[in-house]
Amino acid sequence: MKYRREASLLILVAVLSLLATLFDGSFVRDNTLDILINSIPTMIISCGVMLVIITGEIDISVGSLLGLLAAILALLCSTVSPGLGIHPYLAIPIVLTIGTLIGLGTGCLVVYGRVPSIIATLGLLIALDGAQDWLMGGGDIKHFPQQLRNLGTGTKLPINLIFTILVVVATGLLCRKTALGRRIYAVGSNRSAARLAGISEAKIKLFVFALTGLLTAMAATLWVAKLGNVSTSTGAGLELKVVTCVVVGGIAIRGGRGRLLGVVLAVILITMIRTVLNFMDLGSEAVKWQRAIEGVMILVAVTSDHFSQRQQSGGSS
């Protein structure tokens, strides 16, 4: 069945919702919107990282990159020293540009420097984390102009969510409806064949890395807008969460295969685990095991698929 993965993710989401509903009857009604909003940074970045993984590369620098970009935006916008108090509509494009350029730089390291992407982005993960701390200097940065905060806290209309949906839809269209999207898959599926078909592997890869940079900058903007606070720990560990979501969503780690829908469901699933556990009466002792429980669930999600796949395809080549 073609949509096996999506179906099982959907079932898991339903099971978790049901479980939570046992503890709180109005769980679904009260939490759906919040879970979606809380998933925004992961969701946006996952769209980019998914494309990177489809081309057969990986980007594990997004956590540090988000932190650095959030710090830059905070310094540009914050109305209190050391912030420069620049108008957000000016600052946001600057941050988006920086994000795209860093993404492009990563792409250049991978494509022209021929550094394996996992190593290039590991190096960046470490270095950009340092750069973020360096830039932040003292402590948290708060005091953002209302125009910026409105992007994240519009109570009537969740602008950030609408924007995220637009990003997801655009990514979906890119994958399915454009030549570029099909070429991204083609490069990941068989790079030498892609070359022979006249596709420039270099351009495609530069594009996906740059796009990931841009999307990370967007996520950073919405992050700052929503939480109104940037600290040195902003973004830490996000890269692992994103890669986990992309993989659980059914994107083959070797490239070429997987659909956006699965990733979207996986992001929702992994975001809601925390909320569901919060709503179950875990008791004060069990709460300490929350991270372990999440870990086990992710391990099961990552491996269970291999059980079923093995049975399906047997041992054929």
């Binding site: 399915r176 454009t178 990941g188 068989n190 064949a193 070429g256 054929s316």
Partner: protein, 505 residues
């Protein structure tokens, strides 16, 4: 036949060298419109390099290529494509994760307002399949198609490009006879439509059946371009190797065939792959397994060697039953296998010749569990001499050897284990004529020394001349037995085709 004097493509004194070695030197060939132009030569003769120059994958160093009188921009894939040059490569260029429509159009998508026009692409895909007389589902990922079906998609892809010149590089290497027939029919059809075809193949029968003229390369140099009527088989081979070779010696009756049963397979079944397979191989005997591609030959070979598990049945070597699905126990029992895919399964290309050769006998080369480097060098040296592997030294990367020599290394690493049963899956695919003859001779010598050999091959002359006995498989079952040497290709084919279809052909 409509013969216009002006060639559509002229190749004038094209040269190309890699690291000081001339791959092509001063090549001049012209291709006429509507002709099937054969291109022959041993591996490493420069055929692939010429193809790469023509398609713009690499630029030639000197010389020029003109299409209809206009020079082609060198090293530009798009320019070659625009000029109407399309190619079907030897190794599959399919995107296994993409569906048929995407495979046909990737790189040349049809767009409407910047978006993909899926409907238009589907329509054209159907049209081209109709023209080529086959039907496949448009939305199935190619992974789920057979190799032959993937090859058909490649054909369709080339046809879609409205090409003037279609280059086919060993298109039938992995096709069964029936599929080959379909494909050859297709080539004829293309010729009738005025498309020129540059046809590269090691299978001389196809060259004679199909081509109008044949160009032969040897060591990067042009030997001759000859109209096919002026050539016979031996002359063509002579042009290729520079001497007359007794390619496929007629089968000699083995006088020393013993009665000792080496391998006994009883009732082997694997769901969806093959069922009820039973046969015996005696020491000193070559048993050929014939059949169409997809008949289950390779799957059977993999099961015997323990690569895949099987559902039912038993494999015995010298009376000892093997463990299911364990390569290690198969090797311990004395089975060796030269797999189908030399580059991915047979060899570890980035490792040295020496490391490849000793990979199967590491246990023998250890002392106090440590590898004994001198002993390793000794063994490797003697193996290389025995097999006449042409390599500068044993430390060379296996990747730098020619196809024939690579295959000798694969053979060598298994002969080193002194196997009781040697399984060969397509042992001479993509191997040039001279190396092929050497490999055949080697197989025969070894078998006469008491080994049992099981050979799976799509190459019918090879199957018939090499085997003592032949089992023909059809749709996963054994359809019948034939005697080697005396069987005819027709007999094999009759057994190989599923019932009902045989009458039709």
């Amino acid at each position: 036949m409509n013969r216009t004097p002006d060639p559509i493509i002229t190749i004038e004194s094209v040269s190309k060298s890699y690291g000081g070695v001339e791959a092509l030197s001063e090549i001049c060939v012209d291709i006429l419109p509507g002709e099937v132009h054969g291109l022959c030569g041993e591996n490493g003769a420069g055929k692939s390099t010429l193809i790469k120059c023509l398609t713009g994958v690499i630029p030639p160093e000197t010389g020029k290529i003109t299409v209809d009188g206009t020079p082609l921009r060198h090293g530009d894939i798009h320019a070659a494509e625009l000029a109407g040059i399309a190619v079907i490569y030897q190794e599959s260029t399919a995107f296994l994760d993409l569906d048929l429509v995407d495979n046909l159009f990737v790189g040349r998508e049809i767009k409407k307002f910047g978006w993909l026009d899926r409907r238009a692409m589907e329509k054209r895909a159907l049209a081209v399949m109709q023209r080529l007389d086959f039907t496949l589902d448009l939305h199935t990922p190619l992974r789920e198609f057979s190799i032959a079906q993937r090859q058909m998609v490649e054909m369709a892809r080339a046809c879609l490009r409205d090409c003037r010149l279609l280059i086919m590089d060993e298109p039938t290497a992995s096709l069964s006879s029936r599929e080959t027939k379909t494909l050859l029919g297709l080539v004829t059809q293309l010729r009738a439509a005025g498309v020129s075809v540059l046809y590269v193949s090691h299978r001389l029968e196809e060259i004679f059946q199909l081509c109008d003229r044949v160009t032969v390369f040897r060591d990067g140099k042009l030997v001759a371009t000859t109209p096919i009527e002026q050539l016979n088989r031996d002359q063509l081979i002579g042009q290729m190797v520079g001497r007359e070779v007794d390619v496929l010696t007629r089968h000699k009756e083995h006088t020393e065939r013993t009665d000792k049963i080496r391998a006994k397979i009883t009732g082997l079944c694997s769901r969806g792959r093959f069922s009820k397979i039973s046969f015996e191989v005696r020491s000193g005997e070559i048993l050929g397994i014939g059949g169409l591609v997809g008949a289950g030959r390779s799957e059977l070979a993999r099961a015997i060697f323990g690569v895949d598990r099987y559902d039912d049945g038993e494999i015995q070597i010298d009376g000892i039953t093997l463990k299911k699905g364990s390569i290690q126990s198969a090797i311990e029992a004395g089975i060796a296998m030269v797999p189908e895919d030399r580059q991915h399964q047979g060899l570890i290309l980035p490792m040295s010749v020496s490391e490849n050769l000793s990979l199967t006998i590491l246990a023998e080369l250890t002392k106090y569990r440590l590898l004994h480097h001198d002993r390793e060098a000794e063994r490797v040296q003697s193996l290389m001499q025995h097999l006449a592997v042409k390599a500068a030294n044993a430390k060379m990367e296996a990747a730098s050897l020619s196809g024939g020599n690579q295959q000798k290394v694969v053979l060598g690493k298994w002969l080193a284990t002194k196997p009781k049963l040697l399984i060969l899956d397509e042992p001479t695919r993509g191997v040039d004529v001279a190396a092929k003859a050497e490999i055949h001779r080697l197989i025969r010598d070894l078998t006469e020394a008491g080994m049992a050999t099981l050979i799976m091959t799509s190459d019918l002359p090879e199957l018939i001349t090499l085997s003592d006995r032949i089992e023909v498989m059809c749709e996963g079952e054994i359809a019948g037995q034939l005697e080697g040497g005396t069987a005819t290709e027709e007999q094999v084919m009759r057994l190989a085709f599923p019932r009902g279809e045989a009458q039709r052909t």
